[in-house]
Symmetry: C2
Subunit: 147 residues, 2 copies
């Protein structure tokens, strides 16, 4: 993926182009290891000696907001615990962070052969991110206020 293409991706998303942002976006597009802010910082600080972690965080936030990248583990602010260790799913409200159990969903996951040869699955975890009833209503209220 060449620089021109990266530049136009940023422009299309109305994100001002800077060398730091180009480099971070390039890393995200190239790498397959799902880096953390720290990992990106470490690999780019030689190329940009003045680069700081703050800029990496700022950039990631901006890219995520435009849908150019996403967190593999959202809702990571603090660990949330469940005393029910039987198999079930979680629905997580992206607004109020409420977590709702779903015990009666049907989940079917078939994994490709290549994958089962390199990875031993111990736990399978389905999370549904979205809006709970209360937060949907709040969102509707927001829309109403805009009229």
């Amino acid at each position: 993926m060449d620089k021109k293409e990266l530049v136009s991706i940023l422009r299309e998303n109305e994100i001002q182009v800077t060398p730091q942002r180009l480099a971070i976006l390039e890393q995200l597009k190239l790498r397959k290891d799902h880096p953390s802010a720290e990992m990106l910082f470490t690999c780019l600080k030689d190329e940009f000696p003045s680069l700081t972690l703050v800029t990496v965080y700022n950039t990631l936030q901006k890219l995520e907001l435009s849908g150019l990248c996403m967190k593999v583990n959202p809702l990571h602010t603090s660990a949330r615990y469940d005393g029910n260790v039987t198999a079930h799913q979680h629905a997580i409200c992206i607004n109020c962070q409420k977590i709702v159990d779903i015990h009666d969903a049907t989940v079917f996951i078939e994994l490709p052969k290549w994958f089962n040869e390199i990875f031993k699955v111990l736990k399978q975890c389905v999370n549904l991110y979205g809006l709970c009833k209360e937060c949907q209503e709040l969102a509707d209220d927001d829309k109403a206020l805009l009229n």
Copy 2:
């Protein structure tokens, strides 16, 4: 769930019984809101004025190790980003935290009616926790060393 039952759960798992641990386990079994350490601390500090967050964290760690509770959002130490925002799954190694993409899995999730009435799903997220090939081999080595 009465105290006797909680005591025997702890004893069965060879966890020394203390009032703090009983109270935390009780909360985890009773509550449906998947509390954080802070939330548990807040609701128990009236009953145990001397209680500290440290004890809550210690207890949660011990309970999790015995499978008596689990984190809803494991691998929360630092956010990991993905530049590929198309739908795919992640396999996450619980040992080295490597994250592997799976693009060719078949995922079918049917949600109960009651759920769709109270929650609007925006993103569905399947995470497979387990061991990557390298860490499986290390685990085998560990076993070999024990012989």
